[in-house]
Subunit: 88 residues, 2 copies
């Protein structure tokens, strides 16, 4: 599988398969909006990544749903980039 | 200072001073409600702890606002317990 073009902030780890990225924001309101948008994305995709956040940052950890990272995982990452306004 | 009675799920670490607890829930809707309630608590107190969460769990990390853990830190923890319905 060809990995899609992701923002260079994403770290791809194969063992165990994990896709992670930290997003930084200028203000809490932006952090909050991103979290709310991610919740919507989770609802529509049925996938709930592990999230860590503070006042102005959010880290997203996407674990592979299959044995290796696949299209659904990279798709979630791409959509998260878009929601954050931080696509490539 | 006498530490208030916290749910035994809280871990108190003095160096660096940190108060952490993991809350587990039966469903995503409960997780979401707790996160929203915590956001309200942060807004009213002006304090934003680091939070990590997945579909059915939330970890709260309260860093000491002064050099050691103080009343404001334990107060936030107590209020988080109450919001989760998991007080002592």
């Amino acid at each position: 599988m060809v990995e899609p073009q992701l923002n260079c902030g994403w770290q791809v780890q194969q063992k165990p398969p994990l896709l992670t990225r930290r997003f930084d924001f200028g203000a809490y309101a932006e952090t909050r909006k991103f979290l709310d948008d991610l919740a919507g994305l989770s609802k529509s995709t049925g996938y709930y990544p592990d999230l860590s956040f503070g006042k102005t940052h959010v880290s997203v950890s996407i674990t592979a749903r299959d044995e290796t990272l696949g299209e659904a995982d990279f798709d979630f990452a791409t959509k998260a980039d878009a929601l954050a306004g931080q696509a490539p």
